[in-house]
């Protein structure tokens, strides 16, 4: 029984997060591709290619995550986000030159 609880519990302590990337100023072209990095304590959990003005979704365990985004032309932003267990969140990251 204990083993079943240990196996099942972590999955139900996860949260779904949706992330939208927005350009904060006109120097950042909305058609440009960028790289999105999601990490916790310097551990890189996800790296994915997302266009500026694009979106992504993650299913992650609770924790404090750093979300960074950068385009080839240098439009970037970083934010810290705390994910709570069983609480979904919508995140918007605004990038600027």
């Amino acid at each position: 029984m204990k083993a079943i609880l240990l196996f099942v519990t972590p999955f139900f302590l996860c949260s779904a997060s949706t992330l939208k990337i927005k350009a904060k100023n006109f120097d950042c072209k909305t058609t440009e591709l960028g790289q999105l990095f999601v990490s916790e304590n310097k551990k890189l959990v996800y790296q994915l290619e997302v266009p500026l003005d694009g979106s992504a979704a993650f299913n992650l365990p609770k924790g404090q995550y750093e979300i960074s985004y950068i385009t080839k032309s240098g439009c970037s932003a970083t934010l810290n986000h705390t994910l709570q267990a069983n609480k979904d969140s919508d995140i918007t990251i605004e990038v600027k030159q």
Binding site: F11, C14, T18, L33, Q35, L48, A57, I70
Partner: protein, 313 residues
């Protein structure tokens, strides 16, 4: 006599043209087993660009013409994370005891598929369709881009690419957790991280993935496979549809789908590689991953997908 011979010869020639081509089964979703243009979806609308399989490691950049596992160019983001993340190079994610971390990639399955990229071809500008990934038992979504809603993705083709929710994408991306017991564990190939990487690229080229699709694979996986000896068990649509099924409002005439399951060889030999208990007994034929749907013979629509999976620990 001469007339009879010509007639007989003509009848034989006609019969051979009308007969089914060897290796191609005329049934819905039939697997293509021949390198015929008709089997590869090689039409003017979807023809892959010219790409020299043998030259792929030789013709780029200023580096000497020697075979190397790495592309001789580097993606622009290559240096960005090197000082920020210790596992930036040579790891596909948070790594734990020879596999991806179960903590960060949650779900009941014992394997995580990283970066399946889906590409769509043969669409007219303005054409719209819905596409959804439907996860089966012990499989669940980990990450997607763009956001995959409960109805999947609503996609519109534009001159800039695939427009989802007002933004243009070159491809759709998803990560998911799965149960390795549903995967084939008989056919594949083994080698160190460099040789299996080269072989995977070769498989994609043999399957005639487009150059941009192979470039996407190289740009990421050239730098993200941990050092070690692996056996790779490629999976095709037949296995994957039992795990992460495609649901599309528009049916393709051709589709290509391959997921490379990378299992550390020492884990296989130590019987710690889940259902991968022995090294591959036979090579995997890349044609197994190509399907033709003859019921959609008039459709130019094609779907291409590649991905890489590791056990989770």
């Amino acid at each position: 006599m001469k007339f009879l011979f010509v007639t007989l010869f003509g009848m034989m020639a006609s019969a051979s043209m009308l007969a089914p081509r060897p290796g191609m089964r005329d049934m819905e979703g039939a697997r293509c087993m021949a390198l015929l243009p008709q089997c590869m979806g090689d039409t003017s609308a979807t023809r892959p660009s010219d790409y020299c399989i043998q030259c792929q490691y030789l013709d780029r950049g200023i580096y000497p013409s020697v075979a190397t596992p790495m592309p001789s160019y580097y993606p622009w983001w290559y240096g960005y994370g090197m000082y920020q993340y210790p596992s930036y190079y040579s790891y596909p994610g948070v790594w734990n005891n020879g596999g991806l971390s179960n903590h960060y990639y949650p779900g009941p399955g014992n394997m995580a598929a990283g970066k399946p990229n889906i590409y769509f071809h043969g669409l007219e500008n303005g054409q719209e369709f819905d596409f959804k990934i439907s996860y089966k038992e012990k499989a669940n979504e980990l990450s997607t881009s763009p956001i995959h809603t409960k109805n999947g993705w609503s996609i519109k083709k534009s001159k800039d690419g695939l427009v989802v929710d007002g933004t243009s994408y070159n491809y759709l991306y998803y990560d998911y957790k799965l149960d390795s017991n549903k995967l084939q564990s008989e056919a594949g190939f083994c080698g160190d991280e460099n040789s299996v990487y080269k072989k995977m690229v070769s498989v994609l080229n043999t399957m005639k993935f487009k150059k941009a699709e192979v470039d996407d694979f190289e740009n990421y996986w050239a730098f993200k496979i941990p050092k070690g000896e692996y056996c790779v068990f490629p999976q095709e649509h037949q296995e994957l549809s039992e795990i992460a099924a495609w649901q599309s409002s528009m049916q393709p005439q051709f589709y290509k789908r391959v997921l490379f399951a990378l299992i550390p060889k020492d884990q296989i030999l130590a019987k710690k590689g889940a259902n991968f208990t022995k090294v591959p007994e036979s090579d995997w034929n890349p044609m197994r991953g190509i399907y033709r749907n003859v019921a959609q013979a008039d459709s130019k629509f094609q779907i291409h997908e590649w991905g890489v999976a590791f056990l989770t620990k």
